[in-house]
C-alpha cells in the first residue's frame, strides 16, 4: 500500500472527520447567530416545496439505509437469518427508490438556486458548493448502486457487490482508531468516488448551513406553549419554588434612579 492509498483511506477521512467535529463545536460556540437553514421560502415557494420535501424525506431514508449498510455488521444480518441476496434486493429497490426521490429533490433545489434570480443573488458561495456537492454525492451513490449492476452484468461479475465486507468494516475501523485502508483498495471505482466525495462534504458541513441538521427541535414536544424568561432567572426560580410551597417571598427594594 502506497502513501497515496494511505492518504485517501486514512489521512483524508480522519482530516475530514476532525474538521467535522471540531468545526461544529467551533461554530456552535461562536456562531449561534448564524445557525439556521436560512430558508428561501419567501422568495420562491412552489419549486421549494417539491424540492425540499422530496429531498428531505428521501435523504432521511437514505440515511437509515446507510446506517443499515455501514454501521450494522454483516454478521448481524447473517445471525438474524437475512440472506445476502435478500439484503441486496432490499438495498437495491429501497435504496434506488429513496435515492431517486432525494435526487429529484436536490436537483430541483439546485435548479432554483441557480435559475431564480432573487434566490441566486442571495445565496452564499458555500451554499452553492454544498447544494452542488450533495447533488454529486447522491448521483454518485445512485450510480454506484445501479451502475455497478449494469457493469457487473457485462463482465460476468457477481451482480451484488458486497460492500458490507470491505467498505463497511473500513468505515467502522476509522472509529476504532485502527483504520484498515487495505479493505478499500479492491473496491470498484464508483464506490470509492462516492465515499471520497462524501468525506469532502463532511469537511465542509460545519461551515455551511447544513449545520441545521443537528437542530431538530424535538424539545418542542415537551416544552409548554408559553415561554417566560426573567432578567433575573434565579430570583424568578426562587419565587416559583416559594409559590408552589405557598410561602411569602421577600421582595426587592424600590427602584433607584438609573440614568
Amino acid at each position: 500500500m502506497n502513501l497515496w492509498d494511505q492518504f485517501l483511506w486514512v489521512i483524508f477521512p480522519y482530516l475530514s472527520l476532525v474538521i467535522f467535529v471540531l468545526g461544529h463545536i467551533y461554530r456552535y460556540v461562536y456562531d449561534q447567530y448564524g445557525w439556521t437553514p436560512k430558508s428561501s421560502q419567501m422568495f420562491e415557494r412552489r419549486m421549494l416545496m417539491w424540492g425540499v420535501l422530496l429531498f428531505h424525506w428521501g435523504i432521511l431514508f437514505v440515511f437509515i439505509g446507510h446506517v443499515m449498510g455501514l454501521l450494522v455488521p454483516i454478521e448481524v444480518y447473517r445471525a438474524m437469518g437475512v440472506s445476502d441476496h435478500a439484503y441486496h434486493l432490499l438495498a437495491l429497490w429501497a435504496g434506488t427508490f429513496f435515492g431517486v426521490i432525494a435526487l429529484a429533490g436536490i436537483l430541483l433545489l439546485n435548479m432554483r438556486r441557480w435559475f431564480i434570480s432573487r434566490v441566486r443573488t442571495n445565496t452564499e458561495t458555500m451554499r452553492f458548493i454544498t447544494d452542488g456537492l450533495l447533488l454529486v454525492v447522491i448521483l454518485s451513490g445512485l450510480f454506484a448502486t445501479v451502475g455497478y449492476r449494469i457493469y457487473a452484468a457485462q463482465y460476468d461479475l457477481p451482480a451484488e457487490f458486497e460492500y458490507r465486507e470491505n467498505i463497511a468494516p473500513w468505515f467502522r475501523s476509522l472509529f476504532y482508531f485502527a483504520p484498515q485502508a487495505e479493505l478499500m483498495l479492491e473496491v470498484p471505482l464508483m464506490f470509492q468516488v462516492h465515499v471520497l466525495l462524501a468525506f469532502v462534504l463532511f469537511a465542509l458541513w460545519p461551515f455551511s448551513s447544513l449545520v441545521h441538521v443537528f437542530s431538530i427541535p424535538l424539545g418542542y414536544l415537551r416544552r409548554g406553549y408559553i415561554q417566560y424568561r426573567s432578567s433575573n432567572p434565579q430570583a424568578a426560580r426562587a419565587r416559583e419554588r416559594a409559590r408552589r410551597k405557598g410561602q411569602q417571598v421577600p421582595r426587592p427594594e424600590r427602584s433607584r434612579n438609573v440614568e
Binding site: 430558508s39 422568495f43 415557494r45 424539545g219 424568561r229 426573567s230 434565579q234 424600590r254
Partner: protein, 547 residues
C-alpha cells in the same frame, strides 16, 4: 391568582392622521438593514383595505392564532406540535415576499452618470432583493387612503355578509380610517407557542415578547403562527425578528419610538396587572363575543388592596404597582371601557388596544343629504350599520353593541364638554345617559383630548440595579471567574493572576444582595457552573431584534 405586570398600549384612532411618522421612525431605528427592508414593525394601514401583509386577517388562509378543538380546548390553528414537526421542512402557511411587497430602490446611478442627451434620464426601480429591474405593482401602502380601493378594499376580511353588498354598491360613500399596528405583545402569544426552538419568549417582568436571535433556528412557524403577522423573517440572517416594544427605552422609562414620535399624540403606554393563572381559561372562552369580557376579567384592579398584596407576594416591585395605579391603560380599557382589543377572536389576548374612531360615524352624519343634527349623533350611532358593523368585526369579534356603547361614550364626552364650555356647567344628564359620572367624563376628556405627555406615558424604570452594576465588569476579563476557563487577567502585584477587579465587584454585589434580603446576586453566582454561565449568556439576557 398569580399577578404579573404587562406593558400595554392604547391608540386613540380618532386622532390618527395616517402620516406614517411612527412607521418611518421605527424603520429608521430598527429595520433599516438588509433583509429587513420589507419589514414594518409599525405599519399604518387604511381601513377598509387589505392590510399588510395582504389579507393577513384571513385566518382560514394563514392559520394564525388559536382556535378551540372539538372538546373546547385551546389549540393552535395551524395544528399541534407533532404536526408542525412533520411539516418542519416546508411551512405551508408562510407568506411570500409578494404578500408583503418586494422592496425596491432606484437606479440612481443612471441619473448621476448621465451625459448630455436629448432625453431626460430616468432612474428605474430595482428590486432590493435581486437587484433586477422591477415593475412596481404593490408596495407597503399601495392602498393608502383607499387608493385603488374599488378593486382591493372589498376583499378586506372584515367586510363580510351584508357589509359586502353595501360596500360594493356604495363604494363612494364608504368611510375610511387608519389603523396603526405594532406587535400586540399578547398575553397568550401564538407566536411563542408556535416556535419549535423555544427561542421566543415573554419577559417575566414586563410581558414584552422577543425572539432570542441566537436560539432561533429559522423554522418560521412564529411568522405564520402570529395572526397579526407581526413576526417577520429576515432573509439575510435566516432568523425571525419582530417589534421589541423598544425595550431599551421602556426599561429606562421612555415611551417606544413609534409612540414618542406619533404626530397625533394618540398613543398611551402603561402597566396592566393581570392574573397569569387565568390567561388560558380566558383564551378558551367558548363564544368569541365573550372574549372581550374574558380578557378584561383577567386584568386586575391595581388599587384593590388584595391585588396589591398578591402582586407584592408575586414579586412585582412597589414602584411598579404604583405605576400600574397611575396607568392610563386601566381606565381606558376597564373603567371607562372605551378601548378595545384588535381581533379578540384570535384568542391571543392582544395588549395593544384601540379607542374606536367616531369619525366614520360623523362622516355619515355630516355627509351630503344627511338630516341628522351633528350635536345629536346618538340616533345615528344606533342606526348606522356600515361603520359600526365594520368596527365590530375589527374590534369586538362582531359584537355591534360593544361598539355602539363605546361610540356613545365618546360622543357623550364631546357633548358634555361642549355644554360645559358653552354654559359653564357640566351636563350631568349627558354623562348619566352613558352610565358615567361627570367626573369620569372629565377625566376621560383630559386623557383623550388634552393628552399630556406624562399622563399618556406612565412607564416605570426596569429593576436592573444588580444587572446594571454588573456592567462594570464589561471590559474586564469576562471568563476569568472562579473555575472559569479564562486567564487573561494581568498578573496582580502579589503575583496571582486573579482578576481582582472582578472579585471586588463580586463581593460588592453579594453584599448588596445580602442587604436586599433573599434576592441573590444573580449574575455573579451564576458563573459557578457552565449551565449558569450559559443561562446568563444565552438565555437569561433578553435579546432583541437586530444583531
Amino acid at each position: 391568582m398569580q399577578v404579573k405586570a404587562q406593558i400595554a398600549m392604547v391608540m386613540n384612532l380618532d386622532k390618527c392622521i395616517g402620516c406614517h411618522t411612527c412607521s418611518v421612525t421605527c424603520k429608521n431605528v430598527w429595520t433599516n438593514r438588509q433583509g429587513t427592508e420589507y419589514q414594518w414593525w409599525n405599519n399604518v394601514e387604511t381601513k377598509p383595505g387589505v392590510g399588510y401583509p395582504k389579507l393577513y386577517e384571513d385566518q382560514e388562509r394563514w392559520k394564525g392564532g388559536w382556535t378551540l378543538d372539538r372538546k373546547g380546548r385551546l389549540k393552535l390553528k395551524a395544528g399541534g406540535k407533532l404536526r408542525k414537526l412533520l411539516n418542519i421542512f416546508f411551512n405551508p402557511d408562510l407568506p411570500e415576499i409578494e404578500d408583503y411587497y418586494e422592496p425596491w430602490t432606484y437606479d440612481y446611478e443612471t441619473l448621476t452618470k448621465a451625459g448630455p442627451s436629448d432625453d431626460q434620464p430616468v432612474a428605474r426601480p430595482i428590486s432590493q432583493i435581486s437587484g433586477d429591474p422591477l415593475d412596481l405593482a404593490w408596495g407597503p401602502n399601495w392602498d393608502d387612503d383607499l387608493a385603488g380601493g374599488t378593486t382591493t378594499a372589498r376583499f378586506d376580511p372584515n367586510i363580510r355578509g351584508e357589509l359586502e353588498e353595501s360596500v360594493r354598491f356604495e363604494y363612494e360613500k364608504v368611510f375610511m380610517m387608519y389603523l396603526p399596528r405594532i406587535c400586540e405583545h399578547c398575553l397568550n402569544p401564538s407566536c411563542v407557542a408556535s416556535c419549535p426552538s423555544g427561542a421566543m419568549y415573554k419577559r417575566e417582568e414586563d410581558g414584552i415578547v422577543l425572539v432570542d436571535q441566537e436560539q432561533c433556528r429559522g423554522w418560521r412557524y412564529c411568522v405564520s403562527g402570529c395572526p397579526y403577522k407581526k413576526v417577520y423573517f429576515n432573509w439575510e440572517t435566516g432568523k425571525a425578528e419582530k417589534c421589541t416594544l423598544c425595550y431599551p427605552r421602556i426599561e429606562s422609562g421612555q415611551p417606544t419610538i413609534c409612540s414618542e414620535t406619533c404626530v397625533g399624540r394618540l398613543r398611551y403606554i402603561g402597566l396592566i396587572l393581570y392574573d397569569a393563572d387565568r390567561v388560558q381559561e380566558a383564551a378558551s372562552t367558548p363564544d368569541e363575543k365573550d372574549l372581550l369580557d374574558a380578557q378584561r376579567s383577567v386584568f386586575l384592579d391595581p388599587s384593590d388592596p388584595e391585588v396589591v398584596e398578591q402582586a407584592r407576594y408575586d414579586g412585582v416591585p412597589d414602584d411598579w404597582i404604583e405605576a400600574a395605579q397611575r396607568s392610563p391603560i386601566y381606565p381606558l380599557a376597564i373603567e371607562w371601557g372605551v378601548a378595545l382589543p384588535l381581533h379578540p377572536e384570535y384568542r391571543t389576548l392582544p395588549m395593544v388596544w384601540y379607542v374606536p374612531p367616531l369619525s366614520p360615524v360623523m362622516g355619515f352624519v355630516e355627509g351630503e343629504g344627511s338630516e341628522a343634527d351633528p350635536d345629536d349623533v346618538f340616533p345615528a350611532i344606533d342606526e348606522l350599520r356600515i361603520p359600526v358593523q365594520y368596527l365590530a368585526n375589527l374590534l369586538s369579534a362582531g359584537d355591534e353593541e360593544v361598539i355602539r356603547n363605546v361610540l356613545k361614550r365618546l360622543a357623550a364626552m364631546r357633548g358634555y364638554m361642549r355644554e360645559k364650555n358653552l354654559s359653564g356647567a357640566g351636563a350631568d344628564e349627558i354623562a348619566d345617559s352613558v352610565g358615567m359620572s361627570p367626573r369620569a367624563v372629565e377625566d376621560m376628556y383630559r386623557l383623550l383630548a388634552i393628552a399630556k405627555y406624562e399622563e399618556r406615558y406612565v412607564i416605570p424604570l426596569a429593576h436592573k440595579e444588580l444587572a446594571a452594576e454588573l456592567e462594570g465588569q464589561q471590559g474586564s476579563c469576562g471568563l476569568d471567574f472562579a473555575g472559569g476557563p479564562g486567564s487573561c487577567a494581568p498578573a496582580e502585584p502579589n503575583g496571582s493572576r486573579r482578576n481582582e477587579a472582578f472579585y471586588a465587584m463580586k463581593e460588592k454585589l453579594e453584599q448588596r444582595a445580602g442587604e436586599l434580603g433573599s434576592v441573590p446576586a444573580p449574575n455573579v453566582q451564576f458563573f459557578k457552573s457552565k449551565a449558569d454561565f450559559e443561562s446568563f449568556h444565552l438565555k437569561g439576557r433578553p435579546q432583541g431584534g437586530g444583531a
